[in-house]
C-alpha cells in the first residue's frame, strides 16, 4: 500500500472519481449557496439603483466611487479593524494559556477533558443571550458598579462599562475565546509528551521548551483560531449594535442600514469590498501555515 501511495504521489494528483463523489455534497452546497450568491452580489454592485428598492441593469462604478471617496468608509474600517485586533489579541492570549493549562498542567486526562467541556458548554448556548447577560453586570445600576461603590473605590457609577467600545470588546472576547481554545487545545494535545521530557532531560528550561517546542507545534491551531475570530468580528454587526448602544458602528452595521432602506447596489458594493478585505486577511494567515496538514500528516 505504501509503495502504491508513493507512486501516485510521484505522478502528481490525478482525476479521481471516487474523491469527487465524496466531495460532491460539499460542492453541491458551495455552488448554489456561496459561489452564486457572491456572484449575484458582485453583479448587483455594478448596477444603478432608483432609490426605491429597485435595481436598474445599467453598468456603473458609482457605488464603488462613493465608497472610496466617503470618509465614513475609512472610519468604519478603522473602527472594525480596531475591534478585530483588540479581540484577536485578547482571545489569543487567554485562549493559548487556557489550552496550555489544560493540556500540560492538568495531569488527570479525564479531568482535563471535563474542564475543556466546561469551557465549551456556553458556546452551545445562544450568543445573543450571552451578550445580553452582560447588562445586569455592567449596567449603570449593575453588579460591577454596585460592588465598586460599596467598596468605596468610586462614588459615581462608571458610565463606560456598558454601551461603549469597552463593552463591545468584552462581549467579543466572551463569545470568541472558545474559537481559540479549541484549535489550540487540539494542536497541543497532539504534541508527544515524550518530546517535552526529552527536552527536559537534555536540560532545556521551561521557557526554552515553550519557545522551541510548544509554540511552533501549536502554530496551526493558532492560525485556525485566528481565522475564526477575525472573520467573525469583521462580519459582525449585532454585538457592535447592541453593546455600543448605537455609539459605534462597524462595516457590516452600516451595510445593514443600507439594506434597511433597500439600497441594494451600494450595500452590494460595500459587501464586495468587505469580502475582499476579509479574504486578503485570511489569505495572509493561510500563507503562514498549511491547514490541510492537520489531516495529511
Amino acid at each position: 500500500m505504501i509503495a502504491s501511495a508513493d507512486i501516485s504521489r510521484a505522478r502528481g494528483p490525478r482525476w479521481n472519481i471516487a474523491s469527487w463523489l465524496y466531495i460532491s455534497p460539499l460542492v453541491l452546497v458551495l455552488i448554489p449557496f456561496f459561489v452564486m450568491p457572491i456572484l449575484v452580489v458582485l453583479v448587483a454592485s455594478f448596477m444603478e439603483h432608483d432609490g426605491f428598492g429597485g435595481m436598474i441593469a445599467h453598468f456603473t462604478l458609482e457605488n464603488y466611487a462613493s465608497i472610496f471617496t466617503a470618509s465614513l468608509t475609512w472610519k468604519l474600517y478603522l473602527s472594525t479593524i480596531k475591534f478585530a485586533v483588540l479581540t484577536w489579541g485578547l482571545t489569543l492570549v487567554i485562549g493559548f494559556w487556557i489550552a496550555y493549562f489544560l493540556v500540560f498542567h492538568v495531569r488527570n486526562q479525564l479531568l482535563a477533558i471535563g474542564l475543556f467541556l466546561l469551557c465549551t458548554v456556553p458556546f452551545w448556548t445562544s450568543n445573543i443571550i450571552r451578550m445580553i447577560s452582560w447588562i445586569p453586570l455592567l449596567g449603570k445600576n449593575g453588579l460591577v458598579n454596585a460592588g465598586l461603590i460599596s467598596t468605596g473605590l468610586i462614588d459615581q457609577p462608571l458610565e463606560f462599562l456598558l454601551f461603549s467600545d469597552f463593552a463591545v470588546v468584552v462581549a467579543y472576547t466572551h463569545q470568541l475565546t472558545i474559537f481559540m481554545i479549541v484549535p489550540i487545545f487540539n494542536a497541543m494535545s497532539r504534541i508527544d509528551k515524550r518530546t517535552l521530557e526529552a527536552a527536559r532531560d537534555a536540560g532545556a528550561s521551561r521557557f526554552e521548551i515553550m519557545r522551541h517546542i510548544v509554540v511552533p507545534l501549536s502554530r496551526n491551531g493558532v492560525a485556525l483560531g485566528s481565522i475564526f475570530v477575525l472573520s467573525i468580528v469583521m462580519g459582525d454587526f449585532f454585538v457592535v449594535k447592541v453593546m455600543s448602544g448605537g455609539g459605534s458602528a462597524s462595516v457590516v452595521s452600516a451595510l445593514f442600514e443600507d439594506i434597511g432602506v433597500l439600497q441594494y447596489p451600494p450595500a452590494a458594493a460595500a459587501a464586495v469590498v468587505l469580502l475582499l478585505v476579509v479574504v486578503v486577511m485570511i489569505a495572509l494567515i493561510l500563507r503562514t501555515v498549511d491547514v490541510r496538514k492537520e489531516i495529511a500528516r
Partner: protein, 297 residues
Amino acid sequence: MRATPVPIVRFPRTARRVAVYRDENKRPWTFWVLAALFTAYVLALYGPMLCIYVLSFQDVRGGLVFPMKGLSLHWFVDLFTQVRTGDVKGGFERSILLAIGVTVLTVVGSFMAGLAFRNRFKGDGIVFYLMIGSLVAPGLVLGIGVGLLFQYLGLQASWYTSALGAHLSWTLPFGVLVMFAVMSRFDRAWEEAARDLGATRWQIIRMVVVPILAPGIVAVALFGFTLSYDEFSRTLQTSGPLNTLPLEIWSMTLNVTSPSLYALGTVTTLASFLIIGVCLGAIALMQKRRSNQLGRQ
C-alpha cells in the same frame, strides 16, 4: 522542529532540579497562575449567564438589573402568552427543525468531504479554498446574496430552503475542519488491514471508519446543531416570512425591556443543555462499549 539541542552539560543544575521536581511531583508556580486564570475565565464565562437565569425568575415587579424583586414564573408565562413578545413558540419549533436538518446534512457532507480530502486529487485545492471562502464570508453578505439570488430566480425565500442553504454554507465548512482534526488521529493502517482482509470499500467505511470516528462525528453533529440553532446574520435576509428563534430574540432585544427576555434566555439555554446532554451521553456510551470490547479481547 528547529529546536536547538541544548547540551546537558550546560545546565547540569537545572537538569538535577527537574529530576527532583519530577520525583516529588511538585507543581511549578506557573500552574497556580494558570489555574487562577482558568478559574477567572470560567467565572467570567458563566457568571453573567447565571445572573440572567436568576433574574428571569422575578415576579411582575422585576426589572433588568439586580436586586431581585420577588420570585415567580411570571415572565415565563408572559413569554409564551403575550403577543408583544412575538411568535416565540413558532420560532422555537422552526429553529429546532432547521437545526436538525442542518445537522444531518452537515454530518453526512463533512464526513464524506473529510474522507475525500485525505488524498490529493485534481481540483481539491479549488474546493478547499472555496470552502474556506464560504467559512469566512461575512454572514450578512452571504445572506444578502442568497436573498437576491432567490429574488432573481423568482423563488420564495423560506426558512427550510434559502435559510437551510445559507446555514449549510457555514456549518459544512466548519464541520469539514472539525473532521480534519478528528481524522488526523485516524491511522490508515486499520483501513488497509481491513482491505487486506477482503473488506469492500463500503464495508470498510461502515465497519471500520465510522465506528472509530463515531465520537468525532457526534462532535460534528453538535457543532452543526448549535451553529444553526444560534445563527443570526445568515438567517436575517434568507428566512422569508417566518422567523427563526434568533430573529425573534433579536426583535425582542430591540422592543422588549422586561425580564421575559431573560426568561427566553433561560428556556433556550435549557434546550441547548438538553441537546448537549444527549450528545455527551451518546459519546460516553460509545466509549464504554468500545472499552468493553477491548477488555474482552
